[in-house]
């Protein structure tokens, strides 16, 4: 009864328990709403707050990166000559570095043995040289399987590649490559000497230079002086060691019917010795320079 009376002070005067309960219900819902509103607002608020923090963090990070980049650019520009006003971007810098490394890799071939990794193994380039002259390069493409194998190559067919690979390829690749290098360099050197003789000293030769694929047998008839009264000698050079560029056997003979004078015999023996000790084209260079001296000896 009291309850009913106190409630009747709030506006509408209604009677009964049900009406009272109704009024209580609306009160509760009103209170609940009031409580929720600040909560959702708060939720939205906090969400926005965290977003702001995130964006601030991102902004600071980007700022730091930009500062770093600028610092790097400054550092690289300080290495460039002061009169270069171009700004080198990072991309260009890396490009230059890459080209530099590439050039070094390309220059490696001057060391004699160089290689490049392939999908199957390695492609080795053997460069040959003689007396400071760069000569031909030869390639061996190796498949690096459990027994290493040669995939394909550019080694001339008369170089004993099968023999060398049978001996060393399976057990010691380094030795295989060094041996091959030895054979190829020696062959190139012998070939160079024979080519030089044929081209530069043709005037000294009385007939064609006889040679073979390996350039390990050379036979020719020559005169120590291209013009003049000297008699031709026949030289036969054998290179029994395929890893050397100097002959192992030399025979110089006289192609005439009458007996050799002592001076001629001395000359013959001296020439033999020359062929043993000096590369072929150098022997003929010395003939060319000695020309005058020999003439004098003949006259006397």
């Amino acid at each position: 009864m009291e309850l009913a009376n106190t409630l009747s002070q709030d506006g509408e005067s209604r009677r009964g328990v049900l009406a009272h309960l109704e009024r209580l219900e609306t009160q509760v819902s009103r209170c609940r709403k009031k409580l929720e509103e600040p909560q959702s607002a708060q939720a939205v608020e906090s969400a926005l707050g965290t977003r702001i923090h995130e964006l601030r963090r991102l902004r600071d990070k980007l700022r730091a990166e930009v500062k770093q980049h600028q610092a790097r650019v400054k550092a690289s520009t300080t290495n460039v000559e002061p009169d270069q006003t171009l700004e080198i971007t990072e991309q260009e810098f890396l490009k230059r570095k890459r080209e530099n490394v590439k050039a070094i890799l390309q220059a490696y071939r001057f060391t004699g043995i160089s290689g490049k990794l392939t999908s199957r193994g390695v492609c080795v380039c053997i460069g040959t040289a003689f007396e400071g002259n760069l000569l031909d390069s030869y390639f061996v493409d190796l498949v690096m399987q459990k027994p290493p194998q040669i995939h394909h190559h550019s080694i001339p067919v008369f170089i004993p590649l099968e023999e060398i690979s049978a001996k060393y390829l399976q057990t010691n690749i380094q030795h295989f490559l060094f041996t091959l290098c030895e054979y190829l360099n020696a062959y190139s050197g012998r070939k160079y000497q024979a080519d030089r003789l044929q081209s530069d000293f043709a005037a000294f030769l009385a007939g064609p230079l006889q040679r073979n694929s390996l350039c390990n047998l050379l036979s020719f008839t020559y005169k120590a002086e291209p013009e003049g009264q000297s008699f031709p000698f026949c030289a036969r050079l054998l290179y029994k060691d395929l890893t050397t560029t100097l002959p192992t056997d030399v025979t110089v003979t006289y192609q005439g019917t009458d007996a050799l004078s002592t001076t001629r015999e001395e000359q013959r023996a001296a020439h033999e010795n020359l062929f043993f000790t000096k590369p072929l084209h150098q022997v003929f260079t010395s003939f060319a320079s000695k020309g005058d001296k020999l003439d004098m000896s003949l006259v006397s």
Partner: protein, 353 residues
């Protein structure tokens, strides 16, 4: 004295008739477009003499004039044989070439090959066995020699119109011979080659073609000469995969992955280099019949079936290379087809294991 002279002239004329006929026929073979080049290579008729000849006249008359010049220069059979060699060198594809492989014994000394010794030894062996034989040599590039052999018999003079040719690269185990009509002389030829080049054995390889240079590339293993180096300017990835990049982007290749796989496999097997040229591959099969179906007359046959399968093409290896990309065959191709350059064979005998 005068009588002797007359006799000499008579004899000289007799010899000249067969030789001049040989000259006439050899020069007649030469196409007009190559006449000057071949004559200059031969270097037997001087520049002045060649200038006196009218090269615009009819071929028969030209040949007559040239033969007269040869007679003036007292040309011999040797000179005619040399001209024949030069003609054959220019027209090497007209002959079919076989390949022989020689071998030495184990632990042989270093090969100190002397070309003059080889030539004289080769000639001596043939002449000792056959009195009537003409042997001529011509040096070629890369320390090789072309040998021409005209065969005769004990009682007949050598037939100059059916010579055999041998091409030998010094200090290699391979010799290339043009298929001689007279097969009975082959063992003697093999013997002469082996002994003169200081080898012990000679074996005929199962490799034959008109293209001498391709045979050389195959046995000397010179056909694949592309090597990866740091100095090469073309990167390997730039190879187009055969699919047109410029095609309309609205068109999609449904089996693009398969196509790329086929291209990759083909490239791995055949490489990027031009294939050596062969005209055929021949497979002699002697195998038992194999069938999935049980029964049937052939399934019970004990004896193997014999058949011959021959692939022919103007350029066999290029044709084989294009089979899988064209969709005609599966990739990878049968190793019986792809092993041809590697094994140096284009004749195969296949039997059951």
């Amino acid at each position: 004295m005068r009588r002797e002279l007359a006799g000499d002239v008579g004899r000289a004329k007799e010899m000249d008739e067969t030789v001049s006929e040989f000259f006439r026929r050899t020069i007649l073979k030469i196409p007009m477009t190559e006449m000057m080049t071949i004559l200059k290579t031969w270097n037997f008729l001087s520049e002045n003499q060649l200038q006196t000849v009218n090269f615009r006249q009819r071929k028969e008359s030209l040949v007559q004039d040239l033969v007269l010049l040869c007679e003036e220069n007292r040309a011999s059979l040797k000179d005619a044989a040399l001209l024949d060699i030069i003609y054959t060198q220019f027209h090497r594809h007209q002959k079919v070439w076989d390949v022989f492989q020689m071998s030495k014994g184990p632990g042989e000394d270093i090969d100190l090959f002397d070309m003059e010794q080889f030539k004289s030894s080769f000639k001596k062996i043939l002449k000792r066995a056959l009195k009537n034989v003409t042997v001529s040599f011509r040096d070629a590039e890369e320390n090789a020699v072309w040998i021409r052999i005209a065969w005769g018999t004990q009682y007949r003079k050598p037939n100059q119109y059916k010579p055999a040719y041998v091409v030998y690269y010094s200090q290699t185990p391979y010799a290339f011979t043009s298929s001689s009509q007279l097969k009975s002389n082959l063992p003697l030829l093999g013997q002469a080659l082996t002994i003169a080049s200081k080898h012990h054995q000679i074996v005929k390889m199962d490799l034959r073609s008109r293209y001498l240079d391709s045979l050389k590339a195959i046995v000397f293993k010179q056909y694949n000469q592309t090597f990866e180096t740091h100095n090469s300017t073309t990167p390997l990835q730039e190879r187009s995969l055969g699919l047109d990049i410029n095609m309309d982007s609205r068109i999609i290749h449904e089996n693009k992955i398969e196509k790329e796989r086929v291209q990759r496999v083909t490239q791995e097997i055949f490489g990027d280099y031009p294939q050596p040229r062969l005209e055929f591959a021949q497979y002699k099969l002697e195998t038992k019949f194999k069938s999935d179906l049980n029964g049937g007359i052939l399934a019970e046959r004990e004896e193997p079936l014999r058949c011959l399968v021959k692939f022919s093409s103007p350029h066999l290896l290029e044709a084989l290379k294009s089979l899988a990309p064209a969709g005609i065959a599966d990739a990878p191709l049968s190793p019986l087809l792809t092993c041809i350059p590697n094994k140096g064979m284009n004749y195969f005998k296949i039997r059951d294991k």
